[in-house]
Amino acid sequence: MALSGMRGLSVFISDIRNCQNKEQERLRVDKELGNIRTRFKNEKGLTPYEKKKYVWKMLYIYMLGYDVDFGHMEAVSLISAPKYPEKQVGYIVTSSLLNENHDFLRLAINTVRNDIIGRNETFQCLALTMVGNIGGREFAESLSPDVQKLLISSSCRPLVRKKAALCLLRLFRKNPDVVNVDGWSDRMSQLLDERDVGVLTSSMSLLVALVANNHDAYWSCLPKCVKVLERMARNQDIPQEYTYYGIPSPWLQVKTMRVIQYFPTIEDPSTRRALFEVLQRILMGTDVVKNVNKNNASHAVLFEALALVMHLDAEKEMMSQCVALLGKFVAVREPNIRYLGLENMTRMLMVTDVQDIIKRHQAQIITSLKDPDISIRRRALDLLYGMCDVSNAKDIVEELLQYLSSADFAMREELSLKAAILAEKFAPDLSWQVESHLMHTKSFNVGWFNCVNNRYVDVILQLIDKAGDFVSDDIWFRVVQFVTNNEDLQPYAAVKAREYIDKPAIHETMVKVLSVFGHWRLWKQVSAYILGEYSHLLARRPGCSPKEIFSIIHEKLPTVSTSTIPILLSTYAKILMHTQPSDPELQNQIWTIFHKYESSIDAEIQQRAVEYFALSRKGAALMDIMAEMPKFPERQSALIKKAEDTEADTAEHSATKLRAQQQNSNALVVTDQRPTNGTPPVSQLGLVKVPSMSNVDHSSGDQGATQANGILTIVDPQPPEPSADLLGDLLSPLAIEGPPGATAQADYNLAPGAKGVSNAEEALAIAPVGQQTNTVQPIGDIAERFNALCLKDSGVLYEDPYIQIGIKAEWRAHHGRLVLFLGNKNTAPLVSVQALILSPSHLKMELSLVPETIPPRAQVQCPLEVINLRPSREAAVLDFSYKFGTQMIDVKLRLPAVLNKFFQAITVSAEEFFPQWRSLSGPPLKLQEVVRGVRPISLVEMANLFNSFRLIVCPGLDPNANNLVASTTFYSESTRAMLCLIRVETDPADRTQLRMTVASGDPTLSYEFKEFVKEQLVSIPTISGAPSPAPPQTQPTIASTSLSDPGAMLAGLLH
């Protein structure tokens, strides 16, 4: 097909196609961009045709994924071209290259308005299309009345009116406060009588938004919508060209039913009857056919009808019909239909009375757990989770446990989470098996303890055993919490723990749980007055003496990670306490271990070792301190919190709420578990240091830390509750993957744009610094925060909706101590937290252990020791990653351990300066360079800038008032303390250039120092973020000015 004579464009596209590799392609693109740039610079010689050609090329380059950061003006200016060919290009390219927030768009508003109100229909269409695609607030303000007029105009062709309808939709969605729709219900009602299906389809989309916004105003449209449905579904009164594989426009049908779902109910009996008649027809008249397209189209309509039936709370008979239909779909081979069958059945759970009918399909649903398609497996899991109740809990939990060993990794965490929740929720119903087992064996006195919850322990231990790595910390926290609060459960848990720990290879999480359970077992043994018979039973069992328990647990120590060691230390302390009468050999053994860990590099381990060692020598006092864990306050299970779904940000917000109720049953199934008292979820167990809630209002305590704490709280822009709600949803697998196309299964995972979480993770792993591919948007500019931190010693390094990383640093000579404050902003924990320091060769850095989990709303402090070996300007990078729900977030952050941090201010007098300056003659110790392109700043500003690096200006040394002399001491291991001197000669006539001479006793230092200062002068990092610099004469106190002044610190942080 001819390319409208644009030969240059064709040639360019061919060239690109012929490129052998990415590198060649980039070269070709760069060449073309250079060419276009030159041509645009000299616009006079450019014909409209050429301009058009170049703008097309720009769009093509942009589409290939290259940045096109110029020429926007040229594209926009084509919009005002008088002739169609140029105007068309202007409109199309502008609406692809620019978005609604672009300033240039403002320039076009007048032209666009003239095109819209003008008489040229083609121009009207172009303008409406662009506004409909990228129109922002200003367009809404100046154009919406005109667009409204076009939509209801009787003189316009349908062509213009359908565009006007959608253009108005865009403006309304974006700015409902600007677009005035008063009195539009009558107009919409009239539009629904429209015969042109194109206009009707577009108007129906508009109506969805209007009704979603305020359904009360549009009741008059409801009967009309039913009429439209009748017209299509019953009468098939629709032009041939609007049928799709024999089905009257499935899209219009779907949209119309969507509109009806935004009305809470249908009052008018005749409308309701008419609607149900149509729905019945759809439900009954849809068959699975061979043709894929026809099948999909008819089922699109059918599933929408099902949603509507559910919404309308139809009679039970109709509901049963729906479930029966869905049951049929769940058994169908076609993956899309099967997927939707499962999904809709999950929605059906919300409808009362049909659960029993759904349960009939349980076997079929369980089969879907083994479907080759992971989306289907996920849906099946959701459904099973949702339909689990007293009657089938046992079967379903068994099934999930069994499936756990064969499930693929991508699902195990979710699976184990759901199984854990069900096990807890239906604990009483899982028990019969154990009971009968106990009846027979008689090894336990059934009458004595309530074994109802034992099955729960079995399930959870099995879960941890089978799923290992995929069991999140929340699960084991919760187990411990649950068992602590259920005394009846403790002996059984202890016995089971003993059984599991005998296994040769057990997972680390298991070790954690077992060692905690161990406490009760031992505690029970000594607390004869409570346990009586039980301890008696235990004592007769072999392998249960304190010593034996200790050695079994201790065997596992070499295999566990640093985060588990503290728990084991606690267990040892408890074993020691419970060993009555004391066993000197055991005591010595344990003391040796404590002693060994007293010098651990991990602060948590070290502290516990030191404390337990000291405590265990106190004898009786130990009993009080090491007493049994108190009961946890009743609170919502963190697991349930984790599993709860939230939704936000769809086109129609109120609609989301409405639909969310039907969306997924998780939320409702679990709400009855919520305790009525609103205890805030605080972290359990002393694994990481968690500031207590009261600490957040920073009233007392260690000043530095509390300050940082308080500030972190203040900077947090989101109130805790909404943020939790917004971010709560992570389990919904739907959010990650759409249904597969009708293509072969093998191709299923190949599609771009439909990557699962695991793919995203892989992609993240290779993201280079500064080019983060995270799905989470950081709050604030990372580079700006880094630059600010280069000048001050505390502030926020990074922030996103989930986490805030603050930093506080102290520098002394070539040593530095940074503390990273990792603050979880949410009411759900952050897991898989990892921090890796990629340090350049000149820095020796050691980061203390970062906990794997940051509990909800807690802050963890991680000290980082830095030693500067040599002068270098390279920055260290913190590779920080964590997981929130199923989302993996990975950021690479430069750390402000930069050259100037190892400066120490020094003022030198003329007597000291000049001999030194003269003795360092010429390169490589003394370097001189003329720097151009300096950002013009006054001498005073420059002096302040230098001072902020602790590079102290020495006034009066240089007789020339346009020059600046400064000095500092640099510290590193190789150079020791070394004086650095600098002289800057500025040109008052041209502030953008200067001559700089630097000198020091080390060639590398001189070079690095010179380059450093140059960098600062050429692009000055946010100078306003610097702490108020001291006047040039005084020597600023090192590193502490900003720390001791909370006001300044806050100002810096908020900047």
Binding site: M1, L3, M63, K162, C167, S205, A300, G741, P752
Partner: protein, 125 residues
């Protein structure tokens, strides 16, 4: 509503991209999107993937078939469309798309109406 439409070949070369929501430049060029409240519906035709990102509550099958309708329209317009047609006439594809989808919603579902409209526009050039 449709958040964006993306047409890529098997090598990942983009043949068409149109966004109906404002995205940062850096976001546009990578595929891992904020999927939490959206879903991607896609379909493969020979070596070409057509993807639509839509709201989580949207009707999947309806959008799946709208991809097919778009392909049928392209097929009709280019009479037996192949990837090369789309490459060398990418600007035409944008024109067709603008007649088919506007503001993230379907504007016209009649193949004939769109083909006729394209004919009118070609006469103007």
């Amino acid at each position: 509503m449709i958040r964006f439409i993306l047409l890529q070949n098997r090598q990942g070369k983009t043949r068409l991209a149109k966004y109906y929501i404002p995205l940062e430049e850096s976001e546009k060029h990578k595929v891992e999107f904020e999927f939490r409240t959206h879903k991607v519906i896609y379909r493969r035709y020979a070596g070409l993937f057509f993807s639509l990102c839509v709201d989580i509550t949207d009707n999947e099958l309806a959008y799946l078939e709208s991809i097919h309708l778009f392909v049928e329209i392209l097929d009709h317009f280019f009479s037996n469309v192949c990837e090369l047609d789309l490459v060398f006439n990418f600007h035409k594809v944008y024109l067709i798309l603008d007649e088919f989808i506007l503001a993230g919603e379907l504007q016209e579902t009649s193949k004939r109406a769109i083909i006729e409209r394209m004919g009118e526009l070609e006469k103007l050039e």
